[in-house]
């Protein structure tokens, strides 16, 4: 298969994550996963299946209790907090269910925050942000503040922010969870478009129907991979 030849962007090897308690709560119980460049993958599971934990571990927001996470071949287990932060800023784009735009900042400013911590000049960040906002269809909303935008528009801004700096992988957590179905469809369509343009995207969702529309789907159950449609 052609996909096999493409380079691995993200790899999970025997990843476990448990939270302190008596007994400890095992959210992830030994996960192996491979995400290759150019994939559009759905990570699906019911509430409590460990998918959000997995997304945090994949995005270097959280460290696994055991096992290894590799991003572009780099083992994250030996990295310091500073190195993990820097890696997130450079190589990972995040899209959140509640958009998480920063209040009081315009759409352009929010998007340009995507490269704020890369030491890139404001003018360059702004021109990149404007280009991306045009790309996600918000060319006419550049100076709007988050509260002046609809939910769908806010999520588009968030997507543009995640695209800043061309990250190796984009991780989206229930990105349509706060949107109506029509808007959701538009957002999913946008993801497909971005994927066609070359972005590697992993979407976490509990929505099986949504997941079905993606080329790849990994089902989580009780902290284990129950099914991987790509393996078939």
């Amino acid at each position: 298969m052609i996909q096999e030849e493409k380079s691995v962007v993200l790899e999970l090897l025997g990843v476990e994550k448990s939270y302190p308690g008596n007994p400890p709560v095992g959210a992830l119980r030994g996960i192996d996963l491979l995400v290759r460049k150019g994939e559009l993958l759905a990570l699906v599971g019911t509430s409590g299946s460990g998918k959000s934990t997995m997304l945090n571990v994949m995005g270097a927001l959280d460290r696994p209790t055991a096992g290894n996470v590799f991003i572009e071949g780099q083992d994250l287990s030996n990295l310091s907090d500073r190195q993990l932060s820097s890696l997130r800023g450079r190589r990972i784009g995040f899209i959140f269910q509640q958009f998480h735009l920063i209040a009081g900042m315009s759409a352009v400013e929010n998007v340009s925050t995507g490269l704020l911590y890369q030491g890139i000049s404001r003018s360059r960040r702004h021109s990149d942000a404007i280009a991306l906002l045009h790309r996600v269809g918000l060319g006419d909303r550049l100076a709007h503040l988050p509260h002046q935008l609809s939910g769908g528009e806010q999520q588009r801004v968030a997507i543009a922010r995640a695209l800043m700096g061309e990250p190796a992988i984009i991780l989206a957590d229930e990105l349509t969870g706060n949107l109506d179905s029509k808007t959701s469809e538009e957002i999913i369509e946008l993801l497909h478009q971005l994927n066609k343009d070359g972005s590697t995207i992993v979407v976490v969702t509990h929505d099986g129907a949504l997941a079905q529309s993606f080329p790849g789907m990994v089902t989580l159950l009780d902290g284990l991979v129950a099914n991987d449609s790509r393996a078939a």
Binding site: L61, E72, Q74, F94, Q98, T113, Y117, Q118
Partner: protein, 406 residues
């Protein structure tokens, strides 16, 4: 892995923009929080300003009165006997290192009248004094009419009248060389002095040269009053000033220094200064308390702000911000908040000072160093107040912070 080298970094201009975001988006809260600091700083600045204005006023009053002028007179002896100074007392005083100049005044035993037809008893309280030529500059005296005694005129029967003496004798001008009857001789009035508040006994006197007084009136060469100007540096050093006073007394009457009275005409005002200083300390303390409360207020608001902005912090961490960036953002915001209060405080304090000082017709003086120190103090307090909230923000677990909130 070239893409993974180096740490996240942020440009200074961007860091400033990030640090001001909280203030820009929460204006009312910013103003209210800064107000606490502003009140503290304003209290301190106005206390310092009012004290400084009052001091400046005092100094200008003292300067007018000649704070380094000493009046040396025979005091009361233990037995009640009359004390008299030796003839060379003025010269002795002048030889003291910290005394710049001195001048002796001798009482002339003669009545001063407009003319010979006025009864001897009607002197109008005017005394005749023999003075040396430096006396005028000694008391900062000014000649209003004619001229003062010089080396020639002092040897002739000439007098210069003090302002009060001239008024009582009805002499307003020296143009027609008016004469006064002094003892049993007519003296020509060659000059009239302007008012000299520092030396009331000079104002009420007719002044003549020591030579002519000795010649005509059998002058007792025992000075009844010695004026001395001490080095101005002593004014800032009370201990040396007191030493000089003691040295003067001991030099004039080595056997009985306690019988020499060394007074300072401008001394009346010093009591006022000391009471004010006591108040200054108290009010500054109150200002400091207000400032402390303001600092606690800032810390409080910053803690709340960190809780409210948990998601923003998480997003920034997801976007690559290091803990240091988050810490810097909140410390900067806190310091800036306090600086805003500090600037408002010095403006307010300055205005209070100006208003108070002008209402009292004082010289307006706001110490510029205190303005800088006021803002500096505010920034320091804001920085300290921000340390704990910023540390909390930096410690937030990014995965926890970005979790959806219900």
């Amino acid at each position: 892995m070239t893409s993974n080298t180096g740490f996240s970094r942020i440009k200074v201009a961007d860091a400033i923009g990030v640090g001001t975001l909280g203030m820009r988006t929460r204006k009312t809260r910013t103003l209210l929080t800064a107000l606490g600091i502003a009140i503290g700083i304003a209290a301190m600045i106005s206390v310092l300003g009012i004290t400084s204005s009052s001091d400046a006023q005092l100094k200008s009053e003292l300067a007018a009165l000649g704070p380094n002028l000493l009046e040396i007179t025979p005091g009361d002896s233990f037995t009640g006997a009359e004390v008299s100074f030796p003839a060379d007392a003025s010269k002795v005083v002048e030889r003291i290192g910290t005394v710049e100049s001195s001048s002796a005044v001798f009482v002339v035993n003669a009545s001063v009248r407009r003319n010979e037809f006025i009864p001897k008893q009607q002197t109008g309280g005017i005394t005749a004094l023999a003075v040396d030529l430096e006396m005028l500059s000694m008391i900062d005296g000014v000649v209003a009419e004619g001229q003062f005694l010089d080396s020639t005129s002092a040897n002739l029967p000439n007098v210069v009248l003090g302002s009060v003496a001239a008024e009582r004798l009805g002499i307003v001008s020296t143009l027609r060389s008016p004469q006064v009857f002094l003892g049993d001789t007519y003296f020509t009035v060659i000059g009239i002095l302007a008012a000299a508040p520092l030396a009331p006994n000079i104002e009420r006197a007719a002044l003549m040269g020591v030579e002519i007084a000795t010649e005509l009136f059998d002058l007792q060469l025992e000075p009844s009053l010695i004026y001395a100007r001490v080095n101005e540096e002593l004014l800032d050093d009370q201990r040396r000033f007191d030493e000089t006073r003691a040295v003067i007394a001991a030099s004039v009457l080595p056997n009985a220094p306690s019988e020499v009275s060394v007074s300072r005409p401008s001394d009346l005002l010093t009591a006022r200064t000391s009471t004010q200083n006591a108040f200054t300390g108290l009010l500054l303390g109150l200002g400091a308390v207000a400032l402390l409360v303001g600092g606690v207020g800032i810390a409080n608001v910053m803690v709340i702000s960190v809780i409210e902005r948990r998601t923003e912090i998480g997003v920034r961490r997801a976007l690559g911000a290091l803990r240091g960036h988050i810490r810097l953002q909140f410390v900067f915001e806190s310091a800036l908040l306090a600086a805003l209060g500090g600037v408002a405080g010095i403006i307010l304090g300055g205005l209070i000072t100006v208003a108070y000082a002008s209402s009292r017709d004082w010289v307006i003086s706001v110490p510029t160093a205190s303005l800088g120190a006021g803002v500096g103090l505010a920034v320091a307090i804001g920085t300290i107040a921000g340390l704990y909230p910023a540390a909390r923000a930096a410690r937030l677990d990014p995965a926890e912070a970005v979790r959806p909130r219900v």
